[in-house]
Symmetry: C2
Subunit: 111 residues, 2 copies
């Protein structure tokens, strides 16, 4: 079964990925886990701002977090990026279409 364009999970994942700052966070976390404050400092964002981004990433299950004392550690979540990738990959067979193909299609339609 291939993943549908209207899957709610795909929706939250792609919405999370659509934001540049959140992609920056993902990039950061791909190197190593970090705390909320560290992420805020690297992204040059206030704590409330980073907090919202983290919640968005968390709801999309793109990250996991764990509280240790007063410190929140965040890590990239393995599998979820694969969801977006597999949606995109469905269309790899269509990747051949280009200007020539379209011209061709138009000619056929106009017969």
């Amino acid at each position: 079964m291939s993943i549908s364009y209207d899957s709610p999970q795909l929706d939250s994942v792609l919405e999370a990925l659509a934001n540049q700052k959140r992609r920056g966070i993902i990039h950061d976390l791909s190197l190593q886990p970090a705390t909320v404050t560290q992420l805020a400092s690297r992204a040059r964002l206030s704590l409330p701002a980073i907090h919202k981004h983290i919640r968005s990433l968390e709801q999309a299950q793109l990250i996991i977090r764990k509280k240790a004392g007063r410190t929140n550690f965040v890590a990239l979540n393995g599998s979820t990026l694969g969801l977006a990738q597999s949606w995109i990959m469905q269309y790899q067979t269509s990747w051949g279409s280009n200007k020539a193909t379209l011209d061709n299609y138009i000619s056929k339609m106009q017969e």
Copy 2:
């Protein structure tokens, strides 16, 4: 060279993909090219509404179009989906991280 999280082109592509209706359009077009009116009808959207989606997809270079008389034909554009895919694929090596890894990291940090 790998593609950066803050690339403007990646930005427009992922923003275009973040919308469910636009993903529906892409799915439609993966089957065959279509006219603007056909896409509007399938997505159950008005012409002005579909027009905006198409412009967004076009600016992201996810589609190409060609005018034939008064009719606008639209087709999925080959290569651009690959851009999003390759950004995501950069992080495939990080996909291993999970709860155990995070716990581990936290322990190390607290030593």
